[in-house]
Each structure stands twice: as structure tokens, then as C-alpha cells.
């Protein structure tokens, strides 16, 4: 945590662009042990999730998307039913097999449809990571556009955009996302000639990106407004440099720091939002899996097989925590003050 001493030292004038700020930031980040650990965790989780097909096919020998309620697995040479009738006088209820701790046979147990939890966890991670990454990226691109336009053009455009942002800001984020999801989840999305099916991952990606735009756009707009008043921009405008070039050459590079710092935080937010939507069964649609849908599956088994809900939840906590730590480290390394705050 070098941050404290850095902030306590006389602040360096940040208006001028010192040579190689990115490299310096990178070096500072590399020195931060917490950030490096977080990065390592993220890479490890991503790698594991990318290997999901390999695990399912060659280790667990199952298809995690096919229900296997009538199947059985072999543990230590014994064949065990995946769905086990409860041992009670009324024969009420069935429970899926619990954790076996055998990688070849339902390592973490099975879910209510008899599917291998460990394999689903890896596949679910792919979806969750993909959605949160894409949503964060899309959100930041949108936010950059909105923030730059509002901040640079100002006037009526800024007023209108800010008002819209205010309204979006006033609606609870999750309620907003849920409303959009419920409308789109039943019939997909029709955008002119293009129809996006309801089980397409683009839908949760777009929704999550959209609802978080105000959170990311606000700091960008603030930064652009300060930059617009900065000398080099005023000078460029006085010299008659066209606006798009000013934006591309002077504004954009200067807000990149803000955007880059936002990236891991937005990804963390997106992952939380995705899991919440999927938990309410309006995010990723069956038979697809994400960590949120697995938690949702597990809710029905929470009393008998809590592992089904706990494992994906832990995965979310670990990844989101790593993203937050990384975001913190990047903020310190790049010395960006006013970036969006974490919220849910």
C-alpha cells in the first residue's frame, strides 16, 4: 500500500503530461502486492473456466447441460445413483448426490437435475466472466461517449444528457435492470431488422451496460469539463483545430486514465448485477449457466445440498473481490481521484 505515502507527499502537478505516465503507473502497480495477487487470481479463474470443456469431457466425463436424473456414478468401484431417494418412511423427496471429492464423479456433487456441479461451475464462470467483461467494456464505451459529448459540447446537449442520467440515477439500479430484463426475456429484443433471441447473452450484456452508464459517465463528464477549460484545449480551439481532433488528441488520452481505472470496478459491478438478474431467473436463460443461475438452482436445494448455492457464490465473491482490489490498485497507480465509487 504505497498509496498513503504518495498522497501525503507534495502533490505533483498533474495538468502537464509527464513522459511515460503509463509505464510509471504500470511499474507502480507491479510493486503493489495486493494488486498482483488479485491479477493472479483473476487469471487463474479465467484459465480454469476456459478449460471447462476439457474438464467436463476428459475428467468428469459428463455433459453439464443434460439432465441426468436417472444416471449413476462410480465411486471407489461402487455405483451410486445421482438422484437418491430420501431415507424416510414416506419416501418423500429426492436429493442429488453431494460432494464426492472424486474429480471423475461429481466432485462437488450434482444439482437438482443431476448435472455435475463442478463442470457447471466452470461453464458458468465462462458465461459470468464473458458477460461482465463485455458489459463493462460496452458500458465504458457508452459512458465515454456520453461523458465526452456532455462535457465537451456542454449547453443544451449537456443539460438533456444530464437530465436523462439523473432520471436513470433516480431509479434503483436493480429495479431498472429487472424491468428491462422482464420485458426482453419473454420475447427477445427486436431492433429494426435485427432480432436478438431471449437466450442470447447480448441481452443481459446490453442491459447491464446500459443501467450503469450514468455511474461511469459522471466522472468522465467531470474530467472532460475540467479539460475543456485547460490551457492546451483553449489554445487548440483558438487555433481553429477541429473539435473531433481536439477530442481525439487532447481529451480522449486524458480521460483514458479515468476509464481504465473504471474498468475493473465496472466489471465487478457487472458481475454482481449479472448474478442478481440470473438469480431472479431473468438473466442467463436455461440451459445456459452462469454463477447466478447456479445459485438460483441451489436455492431450491439450500437445506439439503447447500454446496450448489455456496460454491458459485464463493466464486463470485473471490472474483469480485479480486476485481475490486485490482481497481483500487490501478486507481492508486494512476493517481485518478474522482472515479466512480463502488455501489450496487
Amino acid at each position: 500500500m504505497t498509496a498513503q505515502t504518495v498522497t501525503a507527499a507534495p502533490s505533483s502537478p498533474s495538468a502537464s503530461r509527464p513522459p511515460g505516465p503509463w509505464r510509471r503507473a504500470g511499474r507502480r502497480l507491479a510493486r503493489d502486492r495486493a494488486s498482483m495477487a488479485a491479477l493472479a487470481v483473476l487469471l487463474a479463474v479465467t484459465a480454469a473456466c476456459l478449460l471447462a470443456p476439457f474438464y467436463a469431457r476428459d475428467v468428469a466425463h459428463t455433459d453439464p447441460f443434460t439432465s441426468n436424473v436417472a444416471g449413476s456414478v462410480t465411486i471407489d468401484g461402487r455405483s451410486v445413483d445421482i438422484m437418491q431417494p430420501n431415507d424416510n418412511p414416506l419416501h418423500l423427496g429426492l436429493s442429488p448426490i453431494g460432494p464426492t471429492w472424486h474429480a471423475s464423479a461429481d466432485l462437488l456433487g450434482a444439482d437438482s437435475q443431476g448435472r455435475d456441479l463442478a463442470a457447471r461451475l466452470l461453464y458458468g464462470g465462462r458465461t459470468s466472466l464473458l458477460i461482465s467483461f463485455c458489459a463493462a467494456a460496452l458500458c465504458i464505451v457508452l459512458a465515454a461517449m456520453v461523458g465526452i459529448v456532455a462535457g465537451y459540447v456542454g449547453g443544451v446537449v449537456d443539460a438533456v444528457l444530464s437530465r436523462i442520467m439523473d432520471i436513470m440515477w433516480a431509479v434503483p439500479v436493480y429495479l431498472f435492470a429487472i424491468s428491462l430484463s422482464i420485458v426482453t426475456v419473454s420475447q427477445g429484443l427486436k431492433l429494426g431488422p435485427v432480432t436478438i433471441a431471449s437466450d442470447n447473452l447480448l441481452i443481459p450484456i446490453c442491459i447491464i451496460a446500459l443501467v450503469y452508464v450514468p455511474y461511469a459517465a459522471r466522472p468522465v463528464r467531470g474530467r472532460v469539463m475540467t479539460l475543456r477549460r485547460a490551457e492546451f484545449v483553449t489554445a487548440a480551439r483558438a487555433l481553429g483545430v477541429p473539435d473531433y481532433r481536439i477530442v481525439l488528441r487532447d481529451i480522449l488520452p486524458n480521460v483514458t486514465g479515468t476509464l481504465v481505472v473504471l474498468a475493473p470496478l465496472m466489471m465487478a459491478l457487472a458481475m454482481m448485477a449479472e448474478s442478481a438478474l440470473s438469480f431472479l431467473s431473468i438473466g442467463v436463460q436455461a440451459p445456459g449457466a452462469s454463477w447466478g443461475t447456479i445459485i438460483e438452482d441451489g436455492e431450491g436445494l439450500i437445506y439439503t445440498r447447500p454446496m450448489v448455492a455456496i460454491a458459485p457464490g464463493l466464486a463470485i465473491v473471490v472474483v469480485v473481490l479480486a476485481l475490486n482490489v485490482l481497481g483500487d490498485g490501478m486507481r492508486d497507480a494512476l493517481d485518478v481521484r474522482d472515479s466512480g465509487r463502488e455501489r450496487a
Binding site: P85, N88, P89, S186, L280, P287, Y303
Partner: protein, 577 residues
């Protein structure tokens, strides 16, 4: 959490029935009491019983909508209304199969049909009073039947549309008179119905809660949260849809027929709303409530079976899950394709997905066993076909199904299964998708909100090919499964209310069903239903999946568990002391 936590709006009344396979628990106390004697309150047949008195505490996660017994179509309130309101006829309150039978309630007897089933003549009992003290008169009866149309009861057309003059009432409810269809005579207390066509099931329909008799001065609109005066052993003290209902003894009640409306044991009934199912299970286990309405969460079943065995009651229902296939669009406009699905369906897996053999069983015919006219064999299983049915379902025949798909020439087509997004139905839907994939289709599953799905799959403009849904009988008759679900008159293209989801219409089957509906001889009617059932099974417009059981959980202090096929636990017949 899907629909399971929020009890879904039970618009589709589960008036449910049971196979009385279970042994009876206790002798019925009221058998020993003299029936039909007109005595003041407190003089009911339970008087003197050591079990009389106390407060029965019930819980449900939410209220069941309007309190108007002529409009409400939920099993939650039908169960409550059965100890509050009476019709001319009623289903017998008996803890065995005889609870399927129609018995006289406010009428003195179940009439013999006259005029080939077109005329039904009743005599109103004397001396029955509403909870306001008013005597029940034939004018109240006439007004109540007319009110069915005036308030637009959901069954006004489907159940009572055969009454002469009903057409005019349906067209112009405000001026409904039923002239020519309903005649009453205050002097003889006669109530006479004239039907435009014979209806063998008219008594069942009059026993249905929508035909409850209310005072003639009830307004011509939905009563909403205002309770109507009752005739049964209890009446409302208060009602709040967000909190619950409190019932007390009806001081004007006396026992006129212990079969139709016996006296109650408990003095008070408190019905609380708002407790979610998981919490309700815990509360009943701990004795804070005596009974819960909602479905018992699947992952609590093991705990219930192991630790509360004596508090759990399992009864079969006349309720099924089935897979309707749209016979008008590809690929299921091809009979071979539909038969293939029927053949490939692994009903054992579906049973497991629903919660195991204790709560469901494989179902091979559209009419569940136990109902007159149900087929007792299975055409779609390994080693069988419609011409050589097996005695029961043996197992799924994937190979045969693949051959049928190949023969139909529909292999490789895109198929979308539309299911509700509740946990159980989603898992079944995913399973169906995998099955369709396995027999040669390019399948996907489309989950819809539970509020929307049933309307969505009915509407032909949504082009739903195949879906999954459930169905419960209003009263135990094959008509509830065959005519309702496959009758030509129940196919309304382009609307959300077209319960013939498959869009199936077969001349021969329809003829058999029409004949059966008018046949007043039960044995002959059953034959006709079986005949229609066989035609439908061969055409396979839908694949039956499972039949389901009712799981009841009661507190350890509750005695005399008393279950009827249609209304389940009878609140007036249990003990809490």
C-alpha cells in the same frame, strides 16, 4: 425463488381430487350425531364432543384474490368457501372416494333428470338461514344464478351456458333474466332449470362454488374484499387481503345435512397471509400454525418425511402435467412426430424432476386413473403401440421415437419448448429440450414468466410448437380433461383463452364427447369417454407426463385429518383440542 416463493395466482382452480387409496385415520365423529334437526347455534352435531372448540390457525403466502364466491377461481378460496357457502348441491364431505359424489345441500334431493337431461327440478330446503339471520328463499337462488352472469363469473359460459336464456345473459349481463331457463315458485319452494341441450354433468356444475347461494340483494359487481353473508357453519369476522381472515361460528347455522355441510369442531379459524412457503413449513413444524396452503418446497420434503412423518399426509390429485403439441404448424402437424414425442418421453425422469415417486407418478393417458372413462393401458412405451397397448408405462422408447421422426420427415427442424420459469417446470423444459435434441430436432427451450406462459401458449399468433403445462379437474369427470383440452369449441385462434392448446379438433372424438356429455347413464358415459380418449391418444395432440399427489403438512396438535378429493383438508372437520 422463481414462482415458488410467490404463490402464483391460482387462477386455474385446482379443484382437486384424490384417489382414496389411503387408510382412513379416524372414525368420523359426526356419524353418531343426529343430522338434519333444526336447532339453534351451539346445538350442532359436534356439541358435546370433547374435540369441540379452539382456534384453527392457517397460513398462506398470499391471499387468493376476490372474496366473491361466484367469481373467485382459486383452490385456496374454494377450500375456504366450502365451509362457508352452500349451493343447491354439493360434493359430499367424506374422507374417502365418496367425496366425489354430488349430494343435496340447500336442495332437498339430487333430482333425476327429466326431458332427457334438459330439465332439472329442485326443491329448496326449509329453515336454512344466512349468517345475517335472513331465511334462504327461492328468490335468493334465482338471484344467485342470474348473478353468475351479471358479475361475469369465469364459468358463466362454460358451465352454465346451457341454461335457456344464458346466451342473452352472456351478451347483455346487466339485463340478465334467464327467462325460460330458470323458474322458481316461492309457494312450493321449487327451482326448475331448463337447458337448451342435455347436460349430464349439470349437478356437478351446480355443486361448484360459483353456484353458491347468496342473498338476493348482493350487488351486481365483484364483491372484492367485502365478504358475503354465509350459510355454512362459519362466517367472517374480518378480512384483509394483506393480513388474513378471521372466521367465527355462524350463529344461524344448524345441520341440515351432515353429508353436505356438517357442523364444525373449532370455534374460530384464523387464516393469515404473507408467510412464505419455507417459513410456513418451519412454522407448522414448530406448531405456530396448524396447516399451510402453499406447495411444500422440494428440499424440505426429506426433512418432513423423516422428522414429521405423522404430520404429513399424501393424497393423489386429479391433476396432471402434459405436453401439448400444436397440430397446426410444423413439425407437430405431423402425427408421427407427435407420437414420437409421446414415445420418447421419460416419465420416470419427469417424476424425479417433480420431486420423486412419493409426490408424482408416470402418466400415460390424458385422463388420470380413477376417473370414469380413463384408459387403463399405455400405447406409448417400450414394446407397445396404439394398436397393441401395454398394461402400463414401462420406459421411454428413444429408438422407436427416432424411427418415427425419421419416418415423418421432420428431422432437423427447429423446435422451441415454451415453459414457465418456475424451478420445476424449467428443469422439465430443459429435459424436454434434450429429449427433442436426442430424437432428431434442433431444439431450444424458452422460459416465460409464470404469469404469462399459460396465455402465451394458448394464443395461436405466438406460433408455439410445443409446451409444458399442468391441468386440474374442477370436478371428477373425463370431460374436464378431454373436452376441455381437446374439444373443438375450446379452440379460439388468436386469443389468449384457447385452452385447446394443441388446436386439435377431430370429428369422431368430438361426436363421442358430445354424446358422453349428454349421457345420463354413468357406465355408458364412461364408455363414450374411453372411446374419445382412444381416438385422441392415437392422434397424440398432447403427451401426458405425470400425475401429481397432494402433500399436506399439519401441526402435531391437529387431530382427525379429514381430506376430500376436491377441497382437500376440510377446516370444519379437524380437531385442535
Amino acid at each position: 425463488m422463481r414462482g415458488r416463493r410467490f404463490s402464483r395466482p391460482l387462477l386455474f382452480a385446482g379443484l382437486l381430487a384424490a384417489l382414496a387409496a389411503m387408510p382412513r385415520h379416524a372414525a368420523r365423529a359426526q356419524d353418531s350425531a343426529p343430522a338434519g334437526s333444526a336447532r339453534p347455534v351451539g346445538d350442532g352435531q359436534t356439541l358435546g364432543s370433547p374435540h369441540r372448540g379452539g382456534t384453527l390457525r392457517l397460513t398462506a403466502s398470499s391471499s387468493g384474490g376476490t372474496l366473491d364466491p361466484q367469481i373467485n377461481y382459486t383452490s385456496e378460496y374454494a377450500q375456504l368457501f366450502t365451509v362457508l357457502y352452500d349451493g343447491l348441491l354439493n360434493f359430499r364431505k367424506a374422507d374417502d372416494r365418496t367425496s366425489d359424489d354430488v349430494v343435496p345441500d340447500l336442495a332437498e334431493a339430487v333430482p333425476q333428470p327429466e326431458d332427457g337431461g334438459r330439465t332439472w327440478r329442485f326443491t329448496l330446503r326449509q329453515g336454512v338461514r344466512f349468517s345475517t339471520g335472513q331465511v334462504v328463499t327461492v328468490a335468493d337462488v334465482a338471484a344467485s344464478i342470474r348473478r353468475l352472469f351479471r358479475v361475469g363469473s369465469p364459468t358463466a359460459g362454460s358451465f352454465y351456458g346451457a341454461i335457456v336464456g344464458a346466451d342473452a345473459c352472456l351478451r347483455d349481463p346487466a339485463h340478465c333474466t334467464l327467462a325460460g331457463g330458470l323458474e322458481v315458485d316461492p309457494a312450493t319452494r321449487a327451482v326448475v332449470f331448463h337447458l337448451s341441450q342435455p347436460d349430464a354433468e349439470f349437478p356437478q356444475k351446480l355443486a361448484f362454488p360459483h353456484a353458491s347461494i347468496l342473498p338476493a340483494d348482493m350487488p351486481d359487481h365483484d364483491l372484492g374484499n367485502v365478504p358475503a353473508p354465509t350459510t355454512g357453519p362459519y362466517r367472517f369476522v374480518s378480512y384483509d387481503p394483506d393480513r388474513g381472515a378471521v372466521l367465527e361460528r355462524n350463529p344461524f347455522f344448524h345441520v341440515w345435512s351432515a353429508d353436505a355441510q356438517p357442523d364444525g369442531y373449532v370455534d374460530y379459524i384464523h387464516y393469515d397471509f404473507g408467510l412464505p412457503d419455507e417459513a410456513a413449513v418451519t412454522a407448522v413444524e414448530n406448531g405456530q400454525y396448524d396447516w399451510m396452503f402453499d406447495m411444500k418446497p422440494l428440499d424440505r420434503l426429506g426433512e418432513l418425511g423423516a422428522r414429521h412423518t405423522r404430520q404429513v399426509h399424501l393424497r393423489a390429485l386429479y391433476g396432471i402435467y402434459y405436453v401439448p403439441m400444436n397440430v397446426n404448424i410444423p413439425p407437430f402437424n405431423n402425427r408421427l412426430a407427435r407420437q414420437a414425442v409421446n414415445r420418447a418421453l421419460d416419465r420416470r425422469a419427469m417424476t424425479i424432476l417433480y420431486g420423486g415417486a412419493a409426490v408424482a407418478g408416470p402418466l400415460c393417458t390424458m385422463v388420470p386413473p380413477g376417473i370414469p372413462g380413463a384408459l387403463d393401458d399405455c400405447a406409448y412405451t417400450t414394446g407397445a403401440d396404439p394398436d397393441h397397448p401395454a398394461p402400463s408405462w414401462q420406459g421411454a422408447d428413444l429408438e422407436g421415437a427416432r424411427r418415427l421422426v425419421a419416418a415423418s420427415g421432420t428431422a432437423g427442424q427447429k423446435v422451441t419448448v415454451v415453459v414457465q420459469n418456475t424451478a420445476v417446470e424449467m428443469s422439465m423444459g430443459v429435459w424436454l429440450r434434450n429429449m427433442l435434441q436426442a430424437i432428431g430436432y434442433d431444439a431450444s427451450v424458452k422460459p416465460l414468466s409464470h404469469a404469462v406462459q399459460l396465455g402465451y401458449i394458448q394464443n395461436t399468433s405466438n406460433h408455439v410448437q410445443i409446451s409444458l403445462t399442468d391441468w386440474f379437474a374442477d370436478y371428477p369427470s373425463a370431460s374436464n380433461f378431454l373436452d376441455d383440452l381437446f374439444g373443438c369449441e375450446n379452440f379460439h385462434p388468436g386469443t389468449d383463452n384457447s385452452i385447446n392448446i394443441a388446436g386439435y379438433c377431430n370429428k369422431d372424438a368430438q361426436a363421442a364427447m358430445d354424446a358422453a356429455k349428454q349421457e345420463t347413464d354413468p357406465a355408458r358415459a364412461a364408455q363414450l369417454w374411453a372411446q374419445a380418449g382412444r381416438i385422441i391418444a392415437r392422434d397424440s395432440p398432447a403427451a401426458p407426463v405425470i400425475r401429481i399427489n397432494y402433500i399436506d403438512l399439519v401441526s402435531s396438535r391437529m387431530g382427525n385429518y379429514f381430506y376430500t378429493d376436491l377441497y382437500h383438508l376440510i377446516f370444519s372437520q379437524v380437531w385442535v383440542r
